[in-house]
Symmetry: C2
Subunit: 231 residues, 2 copies
DNA sequence: AAGTGGTCTAGACCACGTC
DNA sequence: ACGTGGTCTAGACCACTTT
């Protein structure tokens, strides 16, 4: 007798099997939800849930009226979780440490001013070092827009990292993030205790609350750092 | 009168508003689905859909019996789409080019052999250069396990890149991916036309089909490359 | 115009984890 | 043990897009 597919996961597994076995080759249209529901002996909503998950994963392409097709070039989507730095370090089984390097009110250089759109206003510029087992792990170089987050001016940055405070007190609605590789500058090399010009992994993140810019941060990881995720 | 929340998106917006306005502060428990459904005047399934989306986004933490809480440290999840290299270059408005550098059957060095778990077997080692507007963009250094993908042995790699062929012909069930920054080696510098030791962004990806290893690939991007995504 | 996916509803049962 | 989220169902209406 026909096996039963009474959970959306089992439906998803079966659809995956047909894609991998090329029963439904790349580019082909697959039966519509109603037909599949009948074949699988379940409700259409269950099929919908399964297909939607596969479309999110990039394996199917769905359009109203046009139906559902197997993606020609399955674009894999890797999800990076971006935890606070303390958690990132502790998850590696290391002891977390933190120290403030610098904190001053000043007008940011042009590229940052432009990205944040804060014009000629002064922002709070903070620099800090996060350590793992006492060894330099990452530099946090940050500009905070006090016009959006006035309470940040009062935070005792000797004790709490800007990273942590902002995450729990200044929710953002959207932002962008860039990953790259750069040669280590002189001041960065000094803080990280590595050679000038060494290849370092960098992250630059800008966040907004609605249209109000909150902060721009550049993270410079010590040489050898790798960021990982599963597919 | 009470506004109506008859779509899961509007429910999500309202919940978001309450989180941002700290009506429901970080760490607090929020009413259960049945209560919210009644308050919002919609079905519980609609509330469920909204809360589930927010939990996926890392803003809520849900546990059976324990209920739903606002996350203390909202872990942002950035999703990177990993397209085939041709598309990545064309999306930047550049002309895509491709050239095979090398192709030979050999036993991989120990680290790669260990990662793939192929023991002392020979794998197909290919090296290729992908160009944007004729300028070196990324080196693709790849080991393919012919035991899993025998058809790959017949592919004309002068015409089709390994990247593209594998994506459409060798679906993988899972894999992992590492991002890092490395100093450019001599051979890499030669292919990319940059200085030896320059900081380059690197990606290392391993993929399996069930338990069978398919391929290991290292991508070395030309200096200055950045990977971007939105939050 | 018509067919497809997208979503909502009301009710039900279940799995899990906390109490 | 029991309350919570997780899911399934059957039916319905709607939005979109292609024909």
């Amino acid at each position: 007798m026909t096996p039963e597919f009474n959970s959306w996961q089992s439906v998803q597994d079966e659809v995956l099997r047909r894609i991998h076995s090329r029963t439904w080759p790349p580019g082909a249209a697959i039966p519509n939800e109603a037909e599949l529901a009948q074949e699988f002996g379940c409700a259409r909503a269950t099929v919908n849930r399964a297909l939607q998950a596969l479309a999110d994963a990039g394996l199917l392409e769905r359009k109203r009226r046009a139906g559902t097709r197997v993606a020609l070039h399955p674009i894999r989507k890797a999800t990076l979780s971006i935890p606070i730095l303390r958690t990132e370090i502790e998850q590696r089984g290391a002891t977390y440490g933190y120290g403030l390097i610098d904190r001053r009110l000043e007008v940011p250089p042009n590229p940052i001013r432009t990205r944040l759109g804060t014009g000629g206003a002064e922002l709070l510029h903070t620099r800090a070092l996060h350590t793992a087992n006492g060894r330099p792990f990452v530099i946090e170089d940050r500009w905070v827009n006090l016009a959006t987050v006035p309470a940040f001016a009062e935070v005792d940055l000797e004790r709490f990292s800007a990273n942590e405070w902002l995450v729990s007190h200044a929710p953002f609605t959207h932002g962008d993030i860039f990953f790259g590789a750069d040669p280590c500058s002189i001041t960065e090399a000094e803080a990280l205790g590595c050679a000038v010009g060494a290849a370092v992994f960098t992250v630059e993140r800008t966040t907004w609350n609605a249209t109000a810019p909150i902060t721009w941060v550049r993270l410079v990881y010590a040489p050898g750092y790798r960021m990982q995720t599963d597919l």
